[in-house]
Symmetry: D2
């Protein structure tokens, strides 16, 4: 389903970077959920460019909810959120059509859509389309809070600098929710930003790793095999442009561990079953075990760089060189984190609805 | 869809480790595809335990095709493949019910299914169910060969020992297809096996990393956003028990690269567009670019170990200790590789059918 | 999804008339539902040929549950039911391949599957495949009874003879559940049977209309637009071979009614909202209103008749004539009714699971 | 998938009668299809109220395409079409909340959405939402014409008056496409209109039957069992508000036919296989046989009538009476026909894409 994801709660994306608008339709939300437009705006702000380390393109992201909300609450029918594109400099792009930006979808879109693609600013492949995901996800993030489920993502690593580890999930999530540059240790963040600026000044870009925790997920969510929690969540995460790796719990480190190290021993804490470690990221056999869900995403360096690169002109059919001179980000790691939170929230709402029924969130 | 995956070509899994049978239904295969039962048996053999480094449970995997094949060819209607369970020692399991094996789905299945789960040998969560995936996938692997698309997976790393890198994809894939222990360098393989045996002798287990290449995938396969090639493939890969990480191309290493290093420059080689490097794993914007598709999976150490571990008895409601004494594998990395190949083939057939129509494979 | 239907509760069909076996995989059933094999056998008996008015092909329908049931109860994982084909006279069919039986799928299967279809006895298009639906549906019918939801279908009309109307739904459903030839008035049934025998003796066949009632469906089930109760149910009903029309409540008669006649006035009966009439068949805006759900299905006369008919030989590429001499039914209306009940039960379980969550049935 | 329908080509609906806007997102359209805004406007005009026999609410239906179209052609990515609501008199509705209009979704929406539904003018259940379907369908209708597939619907019966039968499908379809009141014989149409006006003057409403033909559908489209042509199309048709019956070919009349009458004999006309009659509506075994597809839909009389009716006030919890005084149609049959054409076109594009691949339409 190309641009639609989810079963009981689903989201459909539409829009191009330089078209009229981008947006999302969220279906299957329970009725009666309060919709906080300020929180949606807040989440969209977290996705927007910050200072020197981001693209000078500034969009107000003045979203409009066209349907599915009545008297400030969801009606239970589809919520369509539209975000008009305002700051579009389309003339920047037309002349360069045919020059495939390395690492971008220019060439693959051309092959797939046979020259009919909207090539302006990446068209439908633009990171701008994630604004629709974030607006939709904001409602989901809020719904989950009512059930004491909290999602937080920090920049685990960026430009070669590591952030500290989570110490207390719930309070860390709270702190991160207010930060434009989501690190647990601001001193590490300052060093990351300085490295990003350095790369930018050299016409280059950097990548990083995002680490996410979801606390409060009840045990028993997810399905065996194809709707395993990892399957469904990774499906959504790999939809985010620039994500090239996803791992749960110890992830790739498990390759070097013994079974006795990797296994998370169960233990009763009063009435509740917990695990002593959490190398499985809160998931056993594809189903949550009640521990926090932990995962990491690798975010590649922004492919748009002003440094010259060899490439092809697929219209002229010749080799050429290209430096991307227009507006772009030297790093998208910090902007991607709220997108990760958003798709995680949407996936969780879907899986929880499957288990508990659509009405559970309203109870 | 819990146990069904795919749109135009889909697979449905069923069965439990100690029930009557396990199996799969594959739907949407084009009519007229030749079904080679010997090749299915060969692929099932690759999944089966090998020598001392695997479980002593030996199943003949005598599969039976119940439907969808007529005169040796697919009819275009659902292919149901059933693999009876023969070597089931159910009495091994009943007495230990309630003692949650750490790292296994025993506890989460209990929570989800409220005590009605078939707990014998992991039930529906058993790796044995992957035999159905492998049988189904064998038909898909064969179909792809007719279109010059080849899939191969080697053990990149196991028990701390690294294999060499791919040198020539097509010939390497050919070699791997005949090996029970899929390494490119058999000397490295011997060292891995010796390390696995060592862990086994200590009542422990080891993990590893599988690396896969798919050569011959045409450019233009996959969709933007939710049906990105990475999204759909990772969804299927994370369905395989024990997979805790998936990365494409440079994967997590991209976090430490500059944009100028990560980007794959395009270049015309005669009429064909190629890339000079392949850090994006053959995928840009979720769509294949015509280069080989490259990805890696992290496989955790088998959770069943005979070493004693702390855990809970969720029936008695108390803490306890457990050493898994019954038949199990000290390593599943080498067995998982044919499962990876199988789901990759099924996903590819689905995405290719969406693009080219169901009849394309028969042309 | 060709041979799979349903979201939260789904069924996958497989098999051909003269292959090894036919069967079904039901996924998404809650855990802990008691599975009554006698009741499955009873429902399969209702689908089987009766006396002179049916095909002499007699199958014992000795089904086998391969998975998903443990200690007599569902485990919550896929239930695969297989029904071996025993009484297959394949040699009957091979020589006539190419002669398209009018009204059958012989020609369309040939076009779709390009000559690779299993043509023996209709192959995958055979009514025999409905045995899988009935076996799967039997579990669903039983589940619904636990929630006081009852489904019953009678032969409203057959061979020009009308049955009487429902008088008391619950007791009528009870009576019908024990009848091989499902009429409310057995005298009418006797006349129908005599008309069927007359048609059979002339080498001909007859059709009819089935009328179904579902009592006890809670208000609020179904979705607006594409998952309207009528949409989902008609989708499943039109999957049954031979069904050419589906109508809810007054159905086609509403074309001749005034709004004031068609509208069902609401009224409080104590605390409960009822309607004074039920021309909308218990559904308003695609959502159940708490009244019994009422619908009718038109079943065409069996296309297999021994009378000679003009047709083509699509292999020889010429016009020809054909009388179907082999085993066939002069009427399938009475056999189709349990298939209608079965798909209705499966659809209801799916929609109820979406609304209330998978665990609701076990509560 | 509540408000999303289709696999390879899908449509998602959103909006409420008195909200900001209604609209649709169409995904999976091939790239390069020319989008004729005038034709979309023309189709929307056909759906709009006509003269005295329709509601005085007049909407300009000034649609806006937000995405997926570039330089007048589809890009292959989602097309979002938004139609703002302008002529909304919301104050009409608030005071009457709780009084369930018989035959409408007021009560079922209240039960399902627990009082959070947008109750103004039927909210999401309003026929107004079909404008989104029609706009989306217009693109599909146009795509099909490029492949010589034509869809036409006439008012077979309305208010007790019958139209004549189709004589020549292609020219009849052409004529109907330009008529606001779609009858083949305008004299019959005049009598229908006069009967509608009579009912309106008495505060009442009338229903009817729509008959549709699709010419040019290639043989081999549709799937066995759950994606039978009838299944998928009826699913979409029953989504249209007011449709209470769907029948293919002879439909319910088949109940009174003998097999020898119902069966459509095949015959070669030169190289092409045809049938001598078309009682099966161009479909055998769920798959098209190359003959025109024929079906009928029963449309109930508009439930909104000014005549007083008994009903409940579900807020006050009491019985009451209601005459719907606000703007409404005494008949929607003539307006529904373009909605039927639209969903038929969307379903056909989906099924054809599954068979031939997404690129087929562009060839």
């Amino acid at each position: 389903m190309k641009n639609t994801f989810g079963n009981n709660v689903s989201v459909t994306l539409f829009g191009e970077s330089h078209g009229e608008a981008i947006g999302a339709v969220v279906d299957g939300l329970p009725a009666g959920i309060s919709v906080d437009e300020d929180f949606i705006a807040h989440q969209l702000d977290l996705r927007r460019p910050v200072g020197k380390i981001s693209t000078p393109r500034q969009e107000k992201d003045a979203f409009k909810i066209l349907s599915g909300v009545f008297n400030g609450r969801t009606t239970g029918t589809p919520v369509c959120i539209v975000i008009p594109n305002e700051n579009t400099k389309s003339k920047d792009y037309s002349s360069s059509y045919g020059k495939a930006r390395p690492g971008h979808a220019d060439y693959t879109a051309f092959i797939k859509y046979k020259g009919y693609e909207d090539y302006r600013g990446g068209g439908h492949f633009s990171g701008r389309v994630t604004a629709g995901l974030v607006a939709a996800g904001a409602i989901a993030v809020d719904m989950l809070k009512n059930k004491n489920i909290y999602i937080g993502t920090h920049i685990k690593k960026c430009a070669g600098v590591n952030d500290v580890d989570f110490s207390d999930y719930v309070s860390d999530i709270e702190k991160l929710s207010r930060k434009a540059f989501a690190v647990l240790d601001d001193e590490k963040g300052a060093r990351m930003i300085s490295q990003i600026e350095k790369a930018a000044s050299e016409g280059n870009s950097v990548g990083g790793v995002l680490e996410t925790v979801v606390s409060g997920v009840p045990a028993g969510v997810g399905e065996p095999w194809f709707d395993s929690f990892e399957s469904v969540l990774s499906h959504a995460l790999f939809s985010i442009p620039g994500i090239k790796g996803v791992e749960f719990g110890a992830g790739f480190d498990c390759a070097d561990m013994l079974g006795s190290e990797m296994n998370d021993s169960f233990v009763f804490e009063k009435e509740t079953v917990k695990t002593l470690s959490n190398n499985n990221g809160g998931i056993n056999g594809g189903i949550t075990n009640g521990m926090p869900v932990l995962f990491k995403c690798a975010v590649k360096p922004t492919p748009s760089i002003s440094k010259e690169q060899a490439t092809v002109d697929f219209i002229k059919g010749e080799n050429t060189v290209l430096g991307v001179k227009d507006r772009h980000d030297p790093c998208i790691v910090h902007r991607a984190r709220v997108v990760v939170d958003s798709v995680t929230a949407l996936v969780l709402c879907d899986l929880l609805s499957q288990k508990f029924g659509a009405d559970w969130f309203g109870e």
